[in-house]
């Protein structure tokens, strides 16, 4: 991991304080996750310079944007960033094209570049260029806002809950664009959200924030499987795996996928062979057995090693397992855990009752 983004901030508003010290990767999507009031938006605004934390050190790929000790604070308009707000925040007096060109003009570029066309194509807004913002739907507006930030080709793209103001249908309309953005453009993204769905779908790197402090930060799979965190004990707790399509069993409407250390059968996926996919496995859909039962309807039974276990307060055990080189979380009852005498280091089999495809 390249440690190219250094962000240290301290601020105190009495009722709310922020105290973070982060090293973030300079590629991929880093999700800042937390409940409202956790400080995730404040942190993003401090990084953008929209808010001035009295104590801060911020460096992006070796360029210092803030260094309070040396009284350095680069104003927002001098930072090479793109910012997508919760509300699209387009300029109402300019057309879509006018909005897209607003920033470009100021860095001395024009719209006649291949990069501009790529962004327009990526977000599917070529047919909207002459429209005024008031004549766009919520989803279209947000896509224009994302494009407006992207055409600047910034060193860092900041996104503050860009989907929060949209209904679930519009969310589904934009998520694929974000995934493509992730795959096709090489701009590091800091993405603020309180949606676990967006975390699972988009994050490469995950920062958990609570009460203005960093609870955990690390690669998505590592952070999600930290069973000491409330995340792993939540009913929605899940593991996210990267898999590749290897075979279509058309007769059974199934697709075989491979992960690092094994294979899985999934309901048929409309994707070409060798396509990389992200799948999500809810901890509640994983059960544990000591031997392979021939009499089971469950297709996905895999050998696994227990690497850690913890009991919660409600009769549930959270078990972390190693399957091949992937980590997997399982929620089982404490009674079952005792009956099977589960313990760390034990070799078991996991039965996966269901998976969902993320992209």
């Amino acid at each position: 991991m390249t440690e190219a983004i250094i962000a240290q901030f301290k601020l105190d508003y009495g009722a709310f304080s922020l105290d973070v010290d982060l090293r973030l990767p300079s590629s991929g999507i880093t999700v800042l996750f937390g409940h409202s009031g956790s400080g995730k938006t404040t942190l993003l605004r401090c990084i953008a310079g929209l808010q001035h934390a009295p104590h801060g050190l911020l460096a992006i790929n070796g360029t210092t944007w803030q260094d309070s000790e040396n009284k350095l604070f680069l104003p927002t308009h001098k930072r090479s960033l793109g910012y997508v707000f919760q509300e699209a925040n387009l300029f109402a007096h300019l057309t879509v094209l006018g909005n897209l060109c607003y920033g470009l003009k100021r860095i001395g570029h024009t719209a006649n570049t291949a990069q501009f066309d790529q962004v327009i194509e990526l977000l599917g807004i070529a047919h909207l260029l002459d429209r005024m913002p008031e004549r766009l739907s919520g989803g279209e507006r947000q896509r224009v806002a994302i494009a407006r930030a992207l055409v600047l080709n910034p060193e860092l793209l900041l996104m503050d809950e860009p989907l929060a103001s949209l209904d679930s249908q519009r969310k589904q309309e934009i998520l694929p664009f974000l995934t493509r953005l992730h795959n096709e453009l090489n701009i590091p993204v800091l993405y603020v959200t309180h949606s676990q769905q967006e975390v699972a779908q988009l994050a490469d790197y995950l920062v958990l924030l609570a009460d203005g402090k960093v609870q955990a930060a690390g690669l998505l799979s590592d952070t999600l499987s930290r069973i000491d965190l409330p995340q792993a004990q939540d009913k929605q707790a899940a593991s996210v795996w990267q898999v590749t399509v290897i075979e279509h069993e058309t007769a059974y409407h199934l697709t075989r996928v491979a992960f690092a250390g094994g294979e899985l059968s999934l309901p048929a996926i409309d994707a070409e062979l060798n396509t990389a996919l992200r799948i999500q496995i809810y901890a509640r859909d994983v059960s544990i057995t000591l031997e392979i039962s021939k009499a089971t309807s469950i297709l996905n039974v895999l050998p696994a090693t227990i690497t850690d276990m913890i009991d919660d307060k409600e009769g549930q055990s959270v078990v972390r397992l190693q399957v091949g080189s992937q980590t997997l979380l399982a929620h089982i009852t404490r009674k079952s855990a005792q009956l099977l005498a589960l313990h760390t280091g034990m070799m078991v089999y996991v039965q996966i009752k269901g998976t969902s495809i993320l992209n």
Binding site: A48, H77, A92, R106
Partner: protein
């Protein structure tokens, strides 16, 4: 129907009101922006000062201006030092008085318009590499179009309609300070009701048409001069 003296008064009124409106927009825009954006503690004092001409009898404002700009007043001494003479009973004095008298009618609509824009577009512009000054000209002013239209029209029409301040500061000098409202007063004093009707009716129709234009352009209520 209109005598040459009436026409001279009309022309003078148009000149005073146009010049005052231009000066008001140039002064009022930064003032309104500052009043909206700054966190300055004494802001309420400034707001109250700007609003003062709304409630003050025009003769009071006119009286103090007369004293200030007269040969013994602070402003009068300054203008004499600068070789400009004293301002009362001159065209310049009339414009200066008009600017002060109509200030709230320009500043308050602009304040309301600037407040309505909020922070969001300013922050968006900053993230798109626009400096604060750049943002002001390319985002704030275009988004405040209706505020500027309201301010200009109210400033102009209110200046056209002034009487007390004009009489105090400008007096009643033909072709120099005798504006329409004073001319109407002269006609009435001299019992020339038909001439008074010509000018007064004209002013009534003009003011109505201007406001009609304003309201129909904006569709909604124009920004009120009083918050």
């Amino acid at each position: 129907m209109l005598s040459p003296a009436d026409i001279a008064a009309l022309w003078l009124t148009v000149q005073v009101a146009s010049l005052a409106t231009i000066i008001l927009l140039l002064l009022g825009t930064p003032l309104a922006w500052w009043l909206v954006r700054s966190q300055f503690r004494g802001k309420s004092i400034c707001n109250a000062l700007v609003a003062l001409p709304l409630v003050l009898p025009p003769s009071v404002l006119g009286f103090y201006l007369l004293v200030l700009m007269g040969p013994n007043g602070a402003v009068g001494k300054l203008t004499t030092e600068l070789g400009l003479g004293t301002l009362p009973f001159t065209f310049t004095g009339l414009v200066v008085a008009s600017v002060l008298y109509s200030l709230p009618f320009v500043v308050q609509p602009l304040q309301t318009a600037f407040t309505a824009i909020g922070n969001a577009p300013l922050e968006a512009a900053a993230t798109l590499r626009a400096s604060p000054l750049d943002t002001f000209f390319t985002v704030v002013i275009p988004l405040s179009r209706t505020g500027f239209l309201t301010a200009a029209i109210l400033g102009f029409t209110h200046t056209v309609g002034e009487f007390g301040v004009v009489l105090m500061v400008g007096g009643n000098i033909p072709e120099r300070t005798r504006v329409v409202s004073v001319q109407i007063y002269n006609h009435v004093e001299a019992m020339e009701y038909s001439q008074a009707h010509g000018l007064a009716g004209g002013l009534l129709v003009f003011s109505f048409l201007v406001l009609l234009l304003l309201y129909s352009t904006l569709k909604t209520n124009p920004v009120s001069p009083i918050k």
